[in-house]
């Protein structure tokens, strides 16, 4: 951090479709802290039609709360650096295309999702849809931007031109108005670049060519494509939303998509801690999954799976019975369906107790579906010829996905489902949905400031990281769980905890139970776990694990329900599990 940055304070605003949220970050006695947060309704829609009106309200409101002059001369005060991220209009709608679905198109998807896009479709020459169907889809679903990849450098040219030909024939119009040019980024075979650009420019696309996302079959290069997406986002997309042109003149750093900011701060956190991380962001309309495994970042997005607008889609995709199995009381299917239908239609701001239970049940399925989808992204590059050895037959070295919950140190939850209910409710949703294995720290973004911190990261990385760890993340608990199953009631793991003062305590947890142990938030202790024969807490079946653990607001969770988790038909068991965590909250408070 340079000396100039040390004394700066920051007004950071994140704008989504419903809320404009401002956070003030100040240097207080050498430490950066959030000194105030304010949120007001977003004003991008009629009747206001000017996003800066909401920004002004949020800044003035925050100024009143903090006693600072944050608004001067009809713009944010220059006493603070002004940064902004945005996700209005439902996000950055992108289509991507490549030559082969599992190779270039998949790399293009990773680039688009990593840049915070909402992917509306993926096309490739290996697509099962006939060309005319792809063309019609391109035409009917107006994106904000198109990313075209295909061919390794020096590889296929004709196929890349064929794909460009399809994109050209489709004459795709942008979402923000058919009189504008749709930004198309070409990030494919460098040898096809000129011809692709010529072909696409004919149709009046705003074409930009950047380095190949897949320059070689065994290598991905997503950075240039992501930067081009950010540039196009600022130059072609966001300026079409009312007020953004003015907003762009106020910011001290270029505007970034909110999801990109979230991805950046999560990646930075994972790298800082040298820990694998899996984060879920469950919104009203979408569910995002972010992961960092061994330094490789991935984001996937399940558009139209969410807890208000997208909740019926969860029911459609998972099935009503999958949702009902998580509800800890008897409810008729009709009642559950009506609740789900009304959440989609009415999007209520306050919920009845039954609605909360249904929403929490749906959240588990939303996350499960989204994580399944994420596994396909968080995988080794496809198309590479892998030489198998005898060791591979017995080992896990060729697992199709990086995502391994036994190797995941941190799981995080974002979204109202994790912040508006009891901490124990947030924890049980995260536990049931992700089913962490081994020793896993569970956290939630309680202040909902990850977009702000991700935006700050580029300007003042130390401040962003400091605030994330000290203020933004709320540590729920550390969970200890094993892979495998046993008979109900049999002692599944023996646990010994040695605290800093030398005090020890021991626990025997029967299979099928969930238990909490008081351990102060942030308090460290040594943990010794001996699983029953056949069960694995990360060291191999039946083998002892010794490690340091950190307590959270619920202390330590000993999850002896086994993996994969069987959801019991008896509702009283679900109630018992729920109560176990609520007990942890009481013990630790």
């Amino acid at each position: 951090m340079d000396s100039k940055a040390k004394n700066e304070s920051y007004l950071i605003v994140d704008i989504d479709d419903s809320l404009t949220k401002a956070a003030l970050i100040d240097n207080v006695s050498g430490d950066y802290k959030i000194t105030g947060i304010s949120q007001v309704p977003t004003t991008v829609d009629p009747p206001t039609l000017d996003v800066t009106v909401g920004v002004e309200k949020a800044a003035k409101d925050l100024g009143q709360k903090t006693g600072k002059q944050l608004w001067e001369a009809k713009r944010p005060s220059k006493a603070q650096r002004f940064l902004c991220s945005s996700n209005t209009g439902g996000g950055l709608y992108m289509m991507v295309a490549g030559v082969i679905g599992m190779i270039s198109a998949e790399s293009a998807q990773r680039a688009a999702l990593g840049a915070g896009a909402l992917l509306i479709d993926v096309f490739s020459l290996s697509d099962r849809r006939p060309d005319f169907e792809m063309i019609e889809t391109m035409r009917s679903m107006k994106p904000d931007m198109f990313l075209l990849a295909g061919g390794i450098d020096g590889g296929a040219v004709n196929q890349v031109l064929d794909m460009a030909h399809l994109v050209s024939a489709a004459d795709v119009k942008p979402r923000f108005g058919s009189q504008f040019q749709l930004p198309v980024i070409f990030a494919g075979n460098i040898e096809a670049r000129k011809r692709v650009v010529d072909k696409l420019s004919e149709k009046k696309y705003a074409v930009q060519a950047v380095d190949n996302v897949r320059p070689a079959i065994e290598r991905e290069n997503l950075g240039p494509a992501k930067e081009a997406i950010y540039d196009s986002f600022r130059q072609h997309v966001i300026i079409h939303s009312p007020g953004y042109e003015k907003l762009a003149t106020w910011v001290d750093e270029p505007l970034v998509p909110s999801q990109a900011a979230i991805g950046n701060i999560l990646y930075s956190y994972s790298m800082e801690r040298q820990a694998n991380l899996l984060a879920v962001d469950v919104g009203g309309a979408t569910t995002d999954i972010y992961s960092v495994y061994n330094g490789v970042f991935n984001r996937s997005l399940n558009a139209d799976i969410g807890l208000t607008y997208g909740i019926s889609n969860i029911m459609k995709m998972a099935g009503i019975e999958k949702i009902m199995r998580w509800i800890p009381k008897e409810m008729a299917e009709r009642e559950v369906r009506n609740i789900i239908g009304n959440m989609m239609v009415l999007q209520p701001t306050s919920l009845t107790p039954d609605e909360v239970l249904v929403q929490q049940a749906a959240a588990r399925e939303a996350i499960r579906l989204a994580v399944e989808n994420h596994k396909g992204f968080a995988s080794r590059l496809k198309g590479i010829r892998v030489v198998r050895t005898v060791a591979d037959i017995f080992g896990q070295t060729l697992e199709p996905t990086y995502l391994d919950l036994m190797k995941t140190r941190v799981v995080m939850g974002r979204g109202k489902i994790f912040t508006q209910n009891q901490i124990s409710d947030a924890a049980i949703v995260l536990l049931d949905a992700l089913q962490p294995e081994g020793v896993t720290e569970m956290m939630v973004d309680r202040l909902d400031v990850m977009p702000h911190l991700g935006t700050l990261l580029k300007t003042n990385p130390d401040a962003a990281k400091q605030i994330l760890q000290r203020e933004a993340l709320s540590r729920l608990a550390t969970c200890v769980a094993f892979r495998g199953r046993s008979a109900n009631g049999q002692i599944a793991m023996k646990v010994k905890i040695t605290r800093r003062d030398g005090a020890t305590s021991g626990y025997e947890v029967p299979f099928g139970e969930l238990k909490t142990v008081a351990l102060g938030n942030g308090e460290k202790a040594m943990l010794e776990v001996v699983p029953r024969r056949g069960l694995d807490v990360g060291m191999g079946r039946g083998r002892k694990l010794e490690t340091e653990v950190i307590g959270g607001k619920l202390g330590l969770i000993l999850d002896a329900r086994g993996r994969p988790l069987n959801v019991p038909a008896e509702k009283e068991v679900l109630v018992r599990w729920k109560n176990s965590l609520a007990m942890g909250q009481q013990l630790s408070s």
Binding site: E136, N338, M344
Partner: protein
Amino acid sequence: MEELTRNGAATLVMKGFEMSQMEENRIERDTGIRKIRRISAQGQVLVKTGDLVRPETVVARGTVANPNVQKVIIYSQLGIDPDEVERYMLKEEGDEVKKGEVIAIHRSFFGRSTRICRSPIDGTIESFSKSSGSVLIRGMPIAVEVKAHLPGKVVETIPGEGAVIECRGNLIRGRFGVGGETIGELVIVAARRDESLTNELVTKELKGKIIVGGSLVTIDALRRAASLGVNGIVVGGLDQKDLTDFLGYEIGLGVTGKEETGLTVILTEGFGPHPMEEETFHLLKSCEGKQASIDGSTQIRTRMLRPEVIIPS
């Protein structure tokens, strides 16, 4: 204003469909109603400013691109390399072709061997790819038209696209609907706003009508109404399970209007049994016997389009 496309025709609705505003203004009595009626392509406008129109009056007619696009790989049919195809093409981009018409021909060995490539459909050569030696042929354009949907006066025409129709009347916005635009005489079949709309209340005389129920329409009543040719149902609620059974599939997203059930259903309150709001029920009751124009189209996410019942004065 927002532009919303439904069934090939475009409708422009005034702002006020945003949820919070909608909740405040679910009912507008004796208000000026303007609807922009236009086709989703350039065509011919059949009305002029000042014309009086009926709901079934065709406002504009035109054609839209046919979604049927066929790729014809010419080089393989002619037995040549892709980059040679251009020399043997008989048609260019933009040319119309008939099914079976020869679009490329290759003669070799002094005319002794001739290979031809024919169009598989009636249509137009959309594009030609030199690199892959293939063409895309799009089917003939499809005719589309948009009707006035409500009786009123043409206050403005949109060149080549449609017109703005204005009338006075009562407007009721529901919360969720299925099925598109339809018209019919309003018939109140539930005696009270909290009475269910059951099978027995749906009689043969209701064919072509828009019927108003109370708190909940049952699946049997829905099916009977559809089979008897009832045009629309306006009711407080409907069990989500019954809607799924009626449609034969689960509605995933709140985007509706294209359901092909032949029956438009508008829920004024939501899913499950909900007595219709008193004001809504009384307004509908006071309009019994009048013609209503209804539309079940719903888009919940960002555009917040809600289904509507218009009862022109």
